[in-house]
Amino acid sequence: MSRLAAAANAAQWIVGVGALAAILMLFTLDGAPEKDEAGLTTEISELVEDGRGLYDLRCASCHGAEGQGGQGPRLAGTVVINYPDAAEEIDLVTNGRGAMPPFALMLTEQEVIAVVAYTRFGFP
């Protein structure tokens, strides 16, 4: 057998094993993050839960218990449209703007993220 034939045979074995490994990985590698009934990942769901209490404490008096608005603007169903990038909303909550007070001194960075998660995913 020529060296080229031997190389071709070896390549076929290696690639064949690689193909089998790839097929195996398709069925065994960790897939997408687990999601709850609302389609949220476990991480986001936990953030939303954390944010619910903080929202009730810090935000509901102006924006309404269900984000329907009041002294402050409506949030339910509007924040994602007005702030498609969550980072913008995080900045707004942290630093304030106009009548919206800054919460940097009242909430930690993680708490701001939790509140923002709640306003985006938590309203009924």
Binding site: S2, L4, A5, A7, A8, A11, Q12, I14, V15, G18, A19, A22, M25, L26, L29, D30, G31, A32
Partner: protein, 177 residues
Amino acid sequence: MTTRPAALAVPIGAGAATALALGFYSSIHDPTGRDFVLTGFDSAASWKSALASITVFLFLMQVSLGLRMTGRVGPRRPTPPWAPDFHRLVGTVAFGVSLPVVFHCVWSLGYQAGESRISVHAILGCIAYGMYVAKVIAARTDDRPQWALPVAGSLLGILMLAVWWTSALVHYAGTGS
């Protein structure tokens, strides 16, 4: 040796089953959205485009060599004795180079029906892999018709080119690289 078209039933069946299995998995699999970036590249699209380009080049080289070996193109003198093994090696390497690309497509992205280019890319990709399997099995089927391998190889080359056209070429056109 006598040849019979019915001998292609197994290669065609296996190829069709492969294409359908890939398509079925891609459409029911929940895309992980996870990227793995190879060293030297700045994004998954970059390394996938590079590997896809190498794959297409190798497959087109293999098709050209195959057509030359069967006397369908090029000079009428015989090909060198190493040509069949080189043809096999090039095809195997091409398939191997394409594996990480198709794995990322299927596992990380899944089938996405939102954009026609992506849908066409996905469907052609499944058919191309089915064609590859059919061609490899046909090559080991002794009583296959003589036209089977040149046709399968040419179709595979065209399919791979189309798959590359709807992905890597779009990436290169978009990034200007």
